[in-house]
Amino acid sequence: MTQTTDTPMVELRGVKKRFGDLEVLKGIDLRVDRGRIISIIGPSGSGKSTLLRSINNLEVIDEGQILLDGVQVNRPDLKGLAFERHINHIRQNMGMVFQHFNLFPHMSTLDNVTLAPRKLKGMETKDARALGMELLERVGLADKAEAYPSSLSGGQKQRVAIARALAMRPKVMLFDEATSALDPELVEEVNQVMKGLAEEHMTMLIVTHEMAFARDVSDWAMFMDGGVVVEADTPERLFSNPEQERTRHFLRKHLGSQSSTSA
């Protein structure tokens, strides 16, 4: 398949996902052009995390299509090892950052970052080390290269996790509530790293509870509720002048509580 600059980086067509009887994604369509930053907001259980996890097949969708740079991610036609090979290859082009960091505790920070390029791309140890140090530098943690995750703060762990995801030179970064598990004073250091990526025009999908951050960093914001996209717009319009009552209600609750804590 040929990819042109017009090919969206991520595209979802009629994506549906059920957990048992509960339909958590009820036909989602989404187009993310390269270099764009999309924030997905919504109440707990709205399906926003499931949507993000579906994009790299951590959740297997029941219907619809997901495409990364024109290549179909979900492939119901492939079974067993054939699908395993396909999805492993696809995932190397997507960086995923989790709420609970999920750093590998038995490896140093540097090894966490360099594991995938060494083992999956066959990169020489020396080159991987240089790459790892460059990425740790970028997230401000070069001095922690030899440290183990257990000695890092939550914010530091998440910054290492971002560096780890970047090490495979992904085409898109997926952030699943990257700052939700952090103490408030540690959120900013992670947000700064994400803003840095935004300035470099990394394509990003960000599931977040941080309304101010979403408004600040993204080009497009989506409000999800009950497994559907209720409203999607530029962050300026969505946050200041939402059209839907459900969006207004959600934002009143969240912006209200956030402004009261920051006041």
Binding site: N56, N88, Q92, N102, L103, P105, L115, A116, K119
Partner: protein, 217 residues
């Protein structure tokens, strides 16, 4: 009764040889039972019941029967069909016995590694097997270390049971020396002290390994 340790000193080279045999068997059994235990645990956890039930039966068999019986069966029972050298029977018998116990430990510690670790590895592009190899099993191993090393300390003492099939380990060679010198008391005291020293060394090794492993869990 007068103590006379002169015969012990005379036979000390023989005892040392017994110590050497005990330690070599210990090393072989440790390797076999730890590597094998890990393999058995992985197969039990990640394959279909139809595939892994013979393995589970095998574990159950080794955990529910006495070690001495297992050794007699392997050496004298199977010996009717095929002659296997005693040392091989000893290492295999003890190895399988502890493999069963170690597999149990590994199954628990593999399960204890959080699913998030698995997802993080898969999201980087690692397949199931490489995720096991680089992410899950190393963590399960570090978590298993305290119980594994306890098992290995018990195992070294169980090597004495191999004297029953004529393997020249520490207890066997001392029996031999006693049968010539008629000085059981002195010899038993001496080998008790030797076992104590071996234990002391293993415990030191255990805490060294655990100190190194603590921050990796």
């Amino acid at each position: 009764m007068e103590f006379d340790f002169t015969p012990v000193i005379d036979y000390f080279p023989t005892l040392l040889k017994g110590v050497g045999v005990t330690l070599l068997i210990g090393l072989a059994v440790a390797l076999l039972s730890i590597l094998g235990g890990q393999l058995v645990a992985v197969i039990s956890l990640y394959t279909r019941k139809a595939v892994n039930w013979p393995l589970r039966f095998f574990i159950w068999l080794f955990m529910t029967t006495p070690l001495l019986l297992q050794l007699y069966f392997l050496y004298f029972g199977l010996g009717e069909l095929i002659l296997i050298p005693a040392i091989v029977v000893g290492i295999l018998g003890l190895g399988f016995h502890y493999m069963a116990y170690n597999a149990d430990i590994f199954m628990a510690t593999i399960r204890s590694v959080s699913h998030g670790q698995y997802e993080a590895s898969r999201s980087l592009g690692f397949g199931h097997l490489r995720t096991l190899r680089y992410v899950i099993l190393p963590q399960a191993f570090y978590r298993a270390l305290p119980q594994l090393s306890n098992n290995m300390i018990i195992m070294v003492k169980d090597i004495s049971v191999l004297s029953a099939i004529g393997i020249g380990e520490l207890v066997y060679v001392s029996q031999y020396a006693i049968s010539i010198t008629f000085r059981p008391f002195e010899f038993y005291i001496t080998i008790a002290v030797i076992y104590y020293l071996i234990n002391l060394m293993m415990e030191a090794g255990q805490s060294w390994i655990e100190r190194r492993a603590a921050y990796r869990r």
